[in-house]
Symmetry: C2
Subunit: 387 residues, 2 copies
């Protein structure tokens, strides 16, 4: 078991109606609020109006239009400018992972005099950030319970993960009813995203019995509740279970003491959505089974066997290779069963830039240190298999 | 799924050698430290000397001799007095759950002008507490990751659980090597204690798939690693897994969204160790199977079946009642296999005060609101069956 240093100080307020506590949570943090959100969905469902009503005694500045794979320019830059111009004291992010990720970069950028890109790349150390609170409307990334954000820069095709312990949300409001209107596409992608977060931590050299059980439990719950959400979008219990699974899938609580895995599928997917702006969870679902097939070997076999037996209930008495291959096929079949296109071509990606992406990934994502090290040729092979 | 409000801000520094970070963790909290500990075990293993060496630039006041089932008088009262007399700024608890529990009561009492008992009983609301840091030397109670402490008062036989969100440790140092010298008796009792913490949360009306899996994973890990620790007390991996299981077993992370269970075995055991000063984990191990047999009914059957199949691997195709009874028997057999005496008589408790204890429990522990409500006669029946 590896040494670790773990702390997640975020308060989770979970359930129907919890958003009524918003004023009492925000008040100690400040009266000048930057309200960040994406497109019009929070207006359509009435959440925008509810927040404005709850915060009628606060001063609100708004940043809207934050896109999926949130953009450094204009969103982060606009947000930072608004904070500085208006003396914003606290950020309230209302939306999914993209809005939250963008808001974290704004929170840090607002307390820094130089170009916020310096903080995102790590050229300059983050030393201060505005407090952030969020109301989550999409179960997927786990940004509501971690320090990370992923920011895209269209001029360079960079998509960079940025994290700092100052960027934990102070409080995340998790009301599953706000996910009732999430589309089938985004529900399936969110489920695949969270499942991949678990797989990225589960497939590694050293784990613990407890962690393996935690990971398997989240996967099994998502595989039951994800499809239920697709079938009946207003199934409160299914939406609630899926939401909390996603929240716990990405903050590291299921992998403390494990050896480092390197998060290889994320390393690869960041380039896909950096170059092609595809839905992150869909990109992960496409790549994951091909990455699994590529790394299956004598060294990794037992891990896939445990996964197959404990997650998919495959008969433990079968041949180990058979179990492993069946488990990988079952992974792909599950993603497909949720309506996710399982090839890159279906999401508009052909072979024209695979070499360029593989080189970019190899140079920037550190996958030579993953559990099974991946170099440029390995990454290109996985991308090609995913076409 | 029930609404919840969850936040555990404690930092966990886990692994061999992490205690070297003690000065940098304590420094921002203060230079005047109350060092609390129990008997001489931390001196025997050299930890006391190491702490003194690490903190040579701090002012240290000491409170030693904190007993198992920590006592209001003298320990809490002495600690509060020492803090006030010396202007203590931070408490460093070095020991097991009893030392930590006692230190939490001191942390709050030091910031209150009246009788600290008012805070423990809840007569007066806790509004301030000194920060507390701990170095854990016994895997068991989970006090290193929760807000709770249990304090005993010998003059009234009261043993009261006391908790407040201000009482989360700021940082817990978890070095499994400090548990190498824990006796077989305390190792077994610690394992049973943590297992019971899980059972208290698992056996309730409404749960989630994820939570059930989390609970089952911790139980299975403890049932593998507890016996390994008994067999080879210096098995680092087993001590480490057991330690982290215990840490996560009691702060509620495995039961957010579940309905309230009422923690009935703890309610009953508090009186046993309040009246007879027995080892808490042993008391729990004795009571738990009898409580299970007492509440097994049509209403609770399915929960016991799930427990039997998923934790003990009992054949799911058997008759449900058979699975449930086999699971309860297996629970008792596991505790016994660790060398725990499984009757109250073996720990010096006869039938002479059962009526008195049952009345006391019924009046103070609120077990009429447990998942299966327990009144005085039910409590007396469980105690009698445990003789």
């Amino acid at each position: 078991m590896q040494n670790f240093d773990y702390c997640t100080p975020t308060r989770l307020l979970f359930g129907k109606g919890v958003v009524s506590k918003l004023p009492e949570v925000l008040a100690p943090l400040g009266r000048k609020v930057l309200l960040t959100y994406g497109g019009g969905s929070i207006k359509k469902m009435g959440l925008y109006q509810k927040v404005k009503e709850l915060l009628k005694d606060f001063e609100i500045v708004e940043l809207s239009g934050i896109q999926p794979n949130p953009k450094y320019d204009p969103s982060v830059l606009d947000g930072v400018r608004l904070c500085k111009e208006n003396g914003v004291e606290v950020i309230l992010a209302v939306g999914g992972g993209s809005v939250l990720d963008c808001s974290k970069a704004i929170a840090a950028g607002a307390c820094y005099d130089g170009d916020p890109w310096d903080l995102i790349t790590g050229k300059v150390q983050t030393v201060k950030a505005l407090p952030m609170v969020d109301i989550l409307t999409l179960a997927a990334t786990g940004s509501e319970y971690d320090t990370y954000g992923v920011i895209s820069r269209t001029d360079t095709n960079d998509k960079i993960g940025y994290g700092h312990k100052l960027l934990y949300p102070v409080c995340s409001f998790l009301d599953p009813t706000y996910t009732f209107t999430v589309s089938k596409w985004q529900t399936a992608a969110g489920c695949a995203d969270a499942m991949n977060h678990i797989m990225e931590q589960y497939f590694t050299g050293e784990t613990t019995l407890m962690n393996d059980g935690f990971c398997e439990s989240i996967l099994k719950s998502l595989m039951v509740n994800g499809p239920k959400c697709l079938e009946n979008p207003e199934d409160y219990t299914a939406r609630a279970e899926m939401m909390f699974c996603c929240t716990l899938a990405c903050n590291g609580i299921v992998a403390q003491g494990n050896s480092r895995s390197g998060w290889p599928c994320h390393g690869i997917e960041h380039a896909l959505s950096g170059y092609y702006d595809i839905t992150h969870g869909v990109g992960l679902a496409i790549i994951t089974p091909h990455w699994m097939r590529y790394i299956l070997s004598e060294k990794t076999l037992d891990r896939f066997v445990k996964y197959g037996v404990n997650v998919f209930g495959i008969d433990a008495s079968l041949d180990k290779w058979e179990i492993a291959r069946e488990a990988i096929d079952a992974t792909a079949a599950f993603f497909a069963s949720m309506g996710i296109p399982m090839t890159l071509r279906e999401v508009g990606i052909d072979d024209s830039r695979i070499g360029e992406m593989a080189r970019h990934i190899a140079e920037t994502e550190g996958l030579e240190e993953a559990w099974v090290p991946l170099f440029e040729k390995d990454i290109a092979a996985i991308l090609t298999a995913s076409l």
